[in-house]
């Protein structure tokens, strides 16, 4: 995947609407993967994204955060809506296992269900913790690892809109 590649996906948001890479004209998408039973990585990523968007002030409106589930068995639209209830800026995306697999492939994202007796339902889904920024045509313009701080993420996002 090179920096000028277009990443296509077709999923359903947590209000039941169809969402693709071109659904947000004039805005950038900030895409990351996770699952609502995730105990550490996802809450941390969501907190960091919230903090970064707060740092952006009015510029935050230029971004639409998209949280794509890697756990279609449990994360239906209702479950994602409830999970993201206190994070109104973020749209949860789900879909059929096939559509979600296609989205993961498009982003080169890793996710694999792994038995874990300490987790609810006896499994977890370790996954890629990268965050991708797409323009409104679906072209990837940036990506960051989960080591980046909220300040660093905010800097990247500022750079994207300037």
């Amino acid at each position: 995947m090179s920096s000028d590649d277009t990443i296509g996906f077709a999923l359903t948001d947590h209000f039941g609407r169809r969402v693709t890479e071109t659904s947000f004209p004039g805005r950038h998408s900030v895409v990351f993967f996770g699952f609502t039973h995730c105990r550490t990585v996802c809450p941390r990523a969501l907190d960091r994204l919230d903090a970064a968007l707060d740092l952006l002030g009015e510029d935050a409106a230029a971004f639409q955060p998209l949280y794509i589930t890697v756990d279609p068995e449990r994360d239906d639209a209702a479950r994602m809506r409830a999970y993201l209830d206190d994070r109104p800026r973020v749209l949860g995306l789900t879909g059929s296992p096939e559509d979600l697999e296609a989205a993961r492939r498009a982003f080169h994202a890793f996710a694999r269900r792994k038995p874990d007796p300490h987790e609810p339902d006896g499994y977890a889904v370790p996954h890629t913790a990268l965050l991708f920024v797409l323009d409104d045509a679906g072209r990837r313009v940036a990506h960051l690892g989960d080591a980046a701080t909220a300040d660093e993420l905010a800097d990247v996002l500022r750079g994207v809109v300037r």
Binding site: S2, H108, R112, T128, L130, G145, A147
Partner: protein
Amino acid sequence: MTLTVAEFADRVEGYRREGVDALQLGHIRHIDNLSRRLPNDWSGMDSRSNGQDDFASLRYQLAYAAFALAVAHRYRLPAAPGVFKGTFDRLIQKMLLPEVWMYWRDTSSGNAVFNAHLPMESEWDPVRRDNIMYSAYVQVMSLLYAYLFEDDRYARPGALSFEHWSFSWGGEGHRFEYDQDSLNELIYWKMIESGFIGVACEPNCVFQICNQIPLLGFRLHDLLTGGRRAEEVERGYRKAWDDFGRVDAQGRYNLLVLEDSKQLLTNDASEVWGDAWAGTVLNMLNRDLVRERYPEQIRALLIGGPDDTLTIRPLSPTSLFGHSLFEDHGDFGWAAAWAAEVGDSATRDRLLRYADARLAPTWSDGGLFYPRHDASTDADGFHRLVDPLTGNALLAFARLDIPDGLWGLYHLPIEPELRRSPALVEVDPDVAVTRAFIGEEGELSATVSATGRGSGRARIGRLPRNGWVLERGGRIVARSSESTPDVLDPAVGVDGPELIVQPRTAEEGYVLHVQ
């Protein structure tokens, strides 16, 4: 004991002043000799197995010969890029020849012990899917070349192309175009797709060893471009393997994980290469673990040889499913390389003394190597086998590396002032350079001699604009201020912005003082 970059830099300084001895020079020359062979002349490099199947195959010889050159240049002859650049480039060109990578057309089709149950199709492109046992070495060799020599030839589109066409078969042929950036990008995303556990070598087989190599590639790419991918991937890779387990219950490095079942395969207790190869390259990124495991691991793998030497147990032919398996793994060479990298000089030296006494060291065209020998034992029952990876590349690496040399390639960037300082930028093949470093006053100190008919030349470039004085044996032979250079010796010439010296047979010490 943790090593800091500053401590390592101090260590390097000492080696730079020492230069290379006759044996080290011989290894460098042998690698150069191999690099100058005509295309598809692999004499002295063929291993016992068919179709580049084993761990001594051409790709490993070329790659670890390049690593030997890299550590020799960085730590022993830093002001002599001209000794190494052409050789390094020719090794990369050989790496791109179909004979080196065409095994992938067959290996990718599966039907091997660990992937026969998986449906898969034959693939021509040798880097697109799996095969990190080749792609990572092309990635690292091209990026090392760019970083060491500040030459972007492999950054040009299509500069790393894998091309095959035959008059006799195969239709229109195949051509797959990459460059150092696109190949690095491809491997980066494959690492991410894998959850950082790594990319498979043979389909379904993710080796811990081979996935160390692309991390060095990411680091070099970061150094060239200002990126931070190495840090990101290293963190993910470390966590992924920590979760699976780097070492088995016996304290030996796990070899590989099967991609589909996530089953870990441990090391065969009778073979040296697993721990030795893993320990050598793992030192780059997980030095503390390597230091912790090394004493116990190597104690179990080496035995005493004659005259206070060390060696390995004779290697027995392997039988699998009723077939005799003739495969080389570079066991002896990896043992020596491992000891060198972890700084166990006593063990390295005892292994090298064994090699010099019993593995038929051979000089040819000024080069030193240990010829392939297939018999397991000598008349005394000691280890005698020499595979071409050991004989051409690994013993060279062991002799040229310094303690933590690979660690340093990863962690210690080249000093900007070294890149700006005078250097031997071109060296004819019949000129020997045994010292080339930059002194405290910024002066170039070099020791050179002619090895052939005495007509070879060395070119000193990156001369300071404010003037310089060139001395040979303490006597001024050329100088320049702001006016035209003044040449006082017939063995010295000026060619544009560079100086040319024609060494004599005896070693001569040149010093170029910066004004």
